[in-house]
Amino acid sequence: MKLLFLGCSYTAGCELRDREKYRFSTLVGKKLNAEVVNLARDGNSNHAIARKFLEQDLDQYDMVFVQMTRKSRTEWHDEEGKSLKAKILAKMNIETFDEYWNSKTPDSRAKIEYYEIEKAKFFARAERELKNIKFASEEDKWDRILTSKLRFMATDNLVDGKEWWERYYDEIYSDKYGESDEFLFYWLMKNKLIEKGIRNLFFTIEPKTDLPFDLRVDHPKYPRERFSHPNKIGHIMIARDIMRLL
């Protein structure tokens, strides 16, 4: 038996110490004694999820699990790779470091000298990333755009001094567009799976949706890590709820 999982950071296992071992896709695979292919990626949009979905040979899978995400997210194809550099530069500031620092445990933060060490490490890591920018694959050219932080919209495409994507969300994007985007991608994937007779479940983390999702993987009953992703117990609970749905 072979299972396919698609989604964003929730399905990728973001914030888990050992993602591949503890994420819910692995746990479901173990319970079903099945091979698991997990193509989820942090920051994925529904656009990216549907694109990856269409790239797969679906006939090899017995079940497909699609976790859809916030409808405002999107992606674009960054041929020149300007956005990679722009995103690293955008996070090289003290506010972003403080955000990172606040994600540490209170015990770690209590040691004042530790703050300086972590700060140095943080900026050194960003400097290294900046020096070593390269596309590992065609997939890397798809730049993920999220609205949760301005730095996630940085692409070095400035119009009148303002980032293009900031202006897009200010002046062009609307909830109605997001709703249609979500509807189109949901039914594109759902209809394809129905047509092929492949068993499937659809999950979401979008709070405002009218679509018939099977499970909300961001439900508050699932315990979370600092950046709101499910923790190890959360993943166990999600896996258990998925098994109940099967």
Binding site: W76, E171, S174, K192, I194
Partner: protein, 182 residues
């Protein structure tokens, strides 16, 4: 027999009507000039219409076109940036096409529309013919590229009335072949 048609300016011309006459069918045609592939996909699949059509004929268009909702209306965007509602946003879309849009993005959007529409009709068991007017498409998922037909065009580069009759005739001649495939 009932036929559903959608598409951009080509399909909002006469060929769907001529084809419907040839097949002695009732036609529902919701095509609009300027529609993008996303508009065609959206207006087809979000339409509340439970009619059991016997055939759907969809005409997709240039893959670089897109759309957005301005709070009141859906606004069609094409590289000409000619939509009257664009206003101040023309500058943003100009930047998009000049600096950010790529063929890979367009190919991806085109593929979404084809697959989304095919799936929509497949689960409803409605035979579907999807043609395109994108001369340079790389997709092999279309049943026909209308520009493969050597039809006469008017000053606006659209088929003349005779051209629409030629398109309808070609679609009619291909009907059985295409239907046996879908």
């Amino acid at each position: 027999m009932k036929i559903f048609s959608n598409g951009s300016s080509f399909a909002s011309g006469k060929y769907p009507e001529y084809l419907a006459k040839m097949l002695n069918a009732d036609l529902t045609n919701i095509a609009m000039p300027g529609y993008s592939n996303r508009s065609v996909w959206r207006t087809t699949t979000m339409r509340k219409d439970e009619t059991k059509y016997d055939l759907a004929i969809i005409q997709l268009t240039s893959k670089s076109r897109t759309e957005y909702f301005d709070g009141k209306h859906w606004v069609e965007i094409s590289v000409q940036l000619s939509h009257e509602r664009l206003g101040e946003k023309r500058k943003l879309w100009k930047h998009w096409y000049e600096n950010m849009y790529t063929d890979q993005y367009g190919d991806c959007e085109e593929n979404f529309a084809i697959e989304g529409l095919r799936g929509h009709f497949a689960v409803r068991k409605i035979p579907c013919i999807i043609v395109t007017t994108d001369k340079y498409t790389k997709s092999n998922k279309f049943d026909m590229n209308l520009f493969d037909i050597d039809f006469p065009m008017d000053k606006t580069n659209h088929p003349t009335d005779f051209g629409h009759r030629m398109i309808a005739k070609t679609l009619y001649n291909h009907y059985e072949t295409i239907i046996s495939r879908v």
